[in-house]
Symmetry: C2
Subunit: 196 residues, 2 copies
Amino acid sequence: MPRPPNPEVRSRLIEKGAEIIHRLGFNGCGVQDITAAAGVPKGSFYNYFESKDAFAAAILDEYWRAIESNYVSILEDDFVSPLKRVERHFSELIEYHERQKFTFGCLIGNLALELAAQSSIARSKLKALLRTWTAALAKCLSAASEAGELPLAREPQDLAATLIEAFEGAVMVAKVEQSGRALRRFGTVALPRLLA
Amino acid sequence: MPRPPNPEVRSRLIEKGAEIIHRLGFNGCGVQDITAAAGVPKGSFYNYFESKDAFAAAILDEYWRAIESNYVSILEDDFVSPLKRVERHFSELIEYHERQKFTFGCLIGNLALELAAQSSIARSKLKALLRTWTAALAKCLSAASEAGELPLAREPQDLAATLIEAFEGAVMVAKVEQSGRALRRFGTVALPRLLA
């Protein structure tokens, strides 16, 4: 008889699995690597997750929760002017990638390119997270326009999506170069020109 | 005694392998899938390639040759003004992704995020290709500045790298959305604002 699911085991699988998939890629590691990292028997994985694809969606949720509370929340900090919030949102994300030595990339970007063509569960999750991120950034850009910090003609939704795309592309190049050059360039070229 | 290598077999392995890896990812398929697609025995793979990593570098070279002759060459077309060449370079790349229904992404971007942290052979190759692409675009942007089509103050190298990063990010989002929206936005938002 299967033992009742243990939320602590589920959390550990997600935490360790996110780490390992962020480093090795989704297809670069197997369920066994994930359960070994979490210190649980291989068979127990499927007591918690229907499939490895469903697990990808779960680790994306977990990754997003961390991004949201550490970086997206900056966009809602009413003590700071909206434009400053946008700049800080990205500069703190750049510091996060610097702490990783620019080596692992963004889990959303990594899984977007690795899984979008193969896993509809992962693709839906990625689409939803990108939509949420874009909406949060667009809201702050709208506030910047209302505060007179941005030309009113800028369509905040398109501008937000463009900034995220430029940022994800810079994270990609930083990963290839193992250097912060591309991300510094995002801050000195892409961000000011797109916001001008 | 191993048979002498057959250049036709090598080409077929690269052609079929590039297709399959572009669709499934590097770790999403094995050497056996590649040899089966090329219709050659599994064991023969290693007569042509030292490792699967070395094969990744070979398919990137092949992909780049196609990109170069079909899209990068546009940047050198002296019959067209430099700025128009830049716009056409990207609009034709967008059409290429449209023909793929935005599903597979750019092989350079895909392997950048999948392999840069794991394979130094792939990472070096990706770095070199990005450098070549950036240099070709920067040269055309310089010509645009000299022709008075771009403000002289723009640093062509940084601008070229930023455009490529924004484009790769848009290809990523297009792959997640399976739609051309992000790439159209690259053409209507990122490109004109970065070139303004």
